[in-house]
Amino acid sequence: MPDVRRTNPGPDPESGDRRPGEHPPGDRPPGEHPPGDRPRGDWPDGGPDAEDGAVAGTGFGGSMDLATNEGRTLEDDPGPDGGGPSGRPRSLWSDAWRDLRRNPVFLVSALLILFLALIAMWPSLLTSGDPLDCDLALAQEGSRPGHPFGFNGQGCDVYTRTVYGARTSVTVGVCATLGVALLGGVLGALAGFFGGLWDALLSRLTDVFFAIPVVLGGLVLLSVVTSNSVWPVIGFMVLLGWPQISRISRGSVITAKQHDYVQAARALGASGPRMLLRHIAPNAIAPVIVVATIALGTYIALEATLSYLGVGLKPPTVSWGIDISSASPYIRNAPHMLLWPAGALAVTVLAFIMLGDAVRDALDPKLR
């Protein structure tokens, strides 16, 4: 049998009878060769020089066969945190945080959200009025000293109501979004990752939930609830909202799962949770963030719709949604009643979308 085999003595004497999982204490790690040990050509001894700055990419054909972005960063100086051996090791999250702190979009949106949280918690910081202190004689009046936003149809101060409305609206928006993103994101990711029966079951379940009309579902489900707190409303939104996120999350996990780096981790013996958390999740989260932040506005508006239908929050509660819907009949003679709460809603939604965008970009090292 012409089975010619070469026994390779090799310069590494230990490799001879190494057993799996066991390394003699004196075993030399592969990286520890004295620099003079092998021909090293003229590898740059310091930072990037002309040679390692000159980079072009691979990828055949196409007019953008330039792959210029590849060369870019190698040309740049590593910067103050250049990560020489003395620098601390960095990770995606620490890099993302460093990036965010310098991003004006993030700073503006974060400040806005902080401000909203503040007035949601302590509305009395901004106004001394009472949102329920109304005087029908002032109904639909415009702005006047002490009442910059004017009065609504019931003669309540629009400014005070807008400030007080933040609590309900922001709570509903944020909690519903978080709930939907967590539930949908996790279920979708698990379905996408494990596939098979899990996936089939979940997909059919999402189909069922997709088939429930929001308004009708709200009328049926919320009509049995007697409590006038925001939680049933939030619960209802999570119940109907998660399938949307779960589909997106499932899709992007399936895409990420097929990449070779996940296979590479598996070949190394990585566990399921490790592959999911470290390799798949960071690469699959972007679309979830985008859709969830856009949905936030929808939830605030949905709360208004439900309230208008009489199944959401009942009138003594103050919320932007309630004010917007109660102002809509008067849009022609008293537009300010609609504009102020609607403006507050728009700014809130914008702030969260900007935040989501900034976070998504920060988590993408290619955009740095």
Binding site: D3, G16, P29, P30, G31, D81, P85
Partner: protein
Amino acid sequence: MATMAPVPGTDTTTEPLLEVEGLVKHYPLTQGILFRKQTGAVKAVDGVDFVLGRGETLGIVGESGCGKSTVARMLVNLERPTAGAIRYKGEDVTRLSGRALKAVRRNIQMVFQDPYTSLNPRMTVGDIVGEPFDIHPEAAPRGDRRRRVQGLLEVVGLNPEHLNRYPHQFSGGQRQRIGIARGLALRPEIIVADEPVSALDVSVQAQVVNLLERLQDEFGLAYVFIAHDLSVVRHISDRVGVMYLGRIVETGTDAQIYGHPTHPYTQALLSAVPVPDPAARDRRERIILTGDVPSPADIPSGCRFRTRCWKARQRCVDEVPLLAVPEAFRGEGGPAAHPSACHFAEEKRVVPADAAEARP
């Protein structure tokens, strides 16, 4: 089926590092929504045997769809074989699970084809190369990891200072080096390389091939080198197996396969490779095969190459040729006497001979 286990007396000094026997991977084809009924199978790998010695390079060549990548994935346990055994130092890896499997995995590592998708774009190079230590914490003490990772980067010819960079900041060749560093981290004995240079530019390809050869000498690695580029495989391999439709059809040393091929498929494959020498343009005889590779879900009876073979006769339809030294060459012991799965094996020189022999 002929195995390639060492014949007593030829090589008794070392036991083979890796022994693959009757390796089969069938992917079932199913029909029906509720009750899945198997209607057939894609026979991606259909009975592959080979051995790999210490520090040796086995090249596996074949066209796309011949099952060579599936073999690679089974070797590193990314796929479970349908049948057959993969013995690492005598122990059947396919039966292992849990801790024992993890221990074996340390010793068989893989280098992937595509340097653009095989590195997680959201991890730093330090995290990518250091990940093996996270998964196998016993391989390196915590405090030592960073130094080890830097050492690995240096070994593969990258700047160890670039620890905190992300993969997209490197070119294709450099990324492939990162992938190689990750494969080396656990000091494996076997590296399975699936088309490691085919996505790279010519000038960079040579750098990576040289690196792989240097690492082999330095660390006594054994390679299973899988590629479709016959020239690269010849350059790096000690022995070569030619795969067609899920089976090895011919195997031998590089000189035997390239200089003295006896299987018609090997001959056609070799003759089709363009040689960078315009003077050879008219001298060379090209065997142009007709048709395409049959579907692995519907493999021809008898010899699987017969549908494209110019020598096919009735015997090829009826009888599966075994991978063994063909009878005609059995007595000689010359370079043509190597296993070839053909009923009508004949030696035919298809690679220009002058260079093969003239140069040392």
